[in-house]
Amino acid sequence: MQKHLELSQVGISFPTPKGPFIALQNVNLSIAKGEIISLIGHSGCGKSTVLNIIAGLLKATEGGVILNHKEVNEPGPERAVVFQHHSLLPWLSVYENVALAVRQVFSGKMTKSQMQDWIEHNLALVQMSHARDKKPAEISGGMKQRVGIARALAMQPQVLLMDEPFGALDALTRAHLQDSVQQIQAELGNTVILITHDVDEAVLLSDRIVMMTNGPAATVGEVLQIDLPRPRDRLALADCPKYNHYRHQVLSFLYEKQRKVEPLPVASAKASQDKRLIKEEARA
């Protein structure tokens, strides 16, 4: 396997009044060029933290990230991020949002008309050409996410980082966008790291699924290789025993090995209310 992106002994801790809080520990991951990797785990396990460290938005306190033999120290367009909440600039049109990225990355390397073509090309790739002059507030959530993907792709990144890109969308739109991402990735061959909560999404899209243990001091629990032929069709896969086997493995990791026991919010609210009552009585 050709070494492309490598995380070695990555850990991060945050200082708190009670001493450092270790959020992430000993994360080791080696990712080949053109691979699609999903990070899956319960909320709060540090999936986003791993992604942000790769993006350079957070700095690891232990270990480090190497991309193409260079250490990652700061954010940059070669590691483009598709944010969970699209993060389009609301005062710019769809076209201008992509243009901002293209102008920043390619000014001096492309002529004006080349840039124009490149912006149009990326909008066409996510099928958003028809809404090029609309503002983000005027298009649906799925469309915004498409534009966010177009903006990230337009930076021609070596690694595309997607932080729960479809989490806020309805099931139909999500399926549609998953197919788009598969298609685009097959065409461009980007390395993709995707955070998800959705087991089906992880199995459908990934070459490997990285399952994370619960925090604090979360780390990589298991890595599951998905050997399904591409292009993958969700309908055909629904009856595929191999697919269901993979699904089952992820589910058993999440719900048996890393089961997260959380007190029911109603019960805890009542308990604290009772405590307060007792305190008030004691005061009286």
Binding site: A55, G56, L57, E74, P75, G76, P77, R79, A80, V81, F83, H85, S87, L89, P90, W91, L92, L100, A101, Q104, V105, K135, A137, M155
Partner: protein
């Protein structure tokens, strides 16, 4: 075909117009009713109020004085025209004759003009300082910690407290025969000093509240400081900045009247003060005219800023009013 469809208004459009029209009529009649009640109460109270300057003016007395002020303005304008006509004739006869500008009394309407000029220059000066300063302070936690206590300290100071200081400083540093009169400078500077705070504070808040997501976009794109400010920070803060500007203009107009009274800048403030000192039987009604005009101009300035605010606000989900 399509054009035709657009031109002929479909029935649904007419149907959607009717409730709007009804709402407009309802709002208009309520506004008029409120105004009518106010005028009636005023008339009733004024009729029973005797002052040292005679009866307190009611609506009709004020209307009479308004017409008188318009007539005075016309008369003064005619006089000015005649003056220049005579001067022209003199100059034709004797090209060596001295050319003088007309130095008549300022009328009510020229005073309004002076007031507007003064308030706008003071407001402009305040904005030119407050917006860049607000951006710098808002972006740097260091600057913020240094500037915030000072801002909180200076913000509540009354224009009346600043005025003597500004008067002394201006008369010490600006020649009496300068291009701008000292009274104008004093008024404009007082307005600027008192009205810059809302713009400054709102700019600081707007700039420091750029969503983390958008800041991350800027980081991933590696925008440099200037591009970051221009492409991300300023547009994001525009709604807050304009809210501040609107508040500032309101304060500027209020402060102006007080400043003009004391600085003797020939505007509406001086008009009110002179009428008060004059103490004739018409004075109170003339002051009432000035009060109404001050209110009306304040309202118009606010509406002007509101439409500007609406035009530049990208967040159409917020209802501005």
């Amino acid at each position: 075909m399509i054009i035709q469809l657009k031109n002929s208004m479909p029935a649904s459009a007419i149907a959607s117009w009717q409730p709007k029209l009804r709402e407009l009529l309802r709002q208009g009649s309520l506004t008029l009713a409120g105004l009518a009640i106010f005028v009636l109460c005023w008339a009733a109270l004024a009729a029973n109020l005797q002052t040292s300057l005679g009866q307190f003016p009611g609506p009709s007395a004020v209307a009479v004085q308004f017409n008188a002020l318009v007539a005075e303005h016309q008369a003064e304008k005619n006089r000015e025209q005649l003056f220049y006509q005579r001067q022209q004739e003199r100059l034709e006869k004797n090209p060596e004759a001295v050319r003088r500008p007309y130095s008549g009394r300022p009328t009510f309407f020229s005073q309004i003009q002076t007031s507007l000029q003064t308030v706008l220059s003071g407001f402009l000066l305040a904005s030119l300082f407050a917006i860049p300063a607000g951006v710098l302070i808002g972006l740097s936690p260091l600057c913020y910690s240094a500037a915030n206590p000072l801002i909180q300290l200076l913000k509540p100071i009354s224009p009346l407290a600043w005025l003597p200081l500004i008067t002394i400083v201006v008369s010490a540093s600006y020649p009496a025969d300068g291009l701008l009169s000292r009274s104008y400078l004093v008024s404009a500077l007082t307005v600027a000093l008192c009205s810059l705070w809302p713009t400054l504070i709102n700019t600081i808040v707007g700039v420091s509240q750029v969503p983390a997501d958008l800041q991350n976009v800027s980081k991933v794109l590696r925008l440099n400081w200037f591009r970051h400010v221009r492409a991300i920070v300023l547009p994001s803060a525009v709604p807050m900045i304009f809210t501040g500007l609107r508040l500032s203009l309101g304060i500027a107009w209020m402060v102006l009247i007080a400043a003009e009274m004391l600085a003797q800048n020939p505007g509406l403030g001086k008009f009110v003060w002179d009428e008060f000192q004059n103490g004739s039987s018409d004075s109170l009604a003339r002051i009432c005219v000035a009060v109404a005009v001050i209110g009306l101009i304040g309202l118009l300035l606010d509406r002007l800023m509101l439409s500007l605010q609406k035009a530049v606000s990208w967040d159409k989900s917020v209802q501005l009013r």
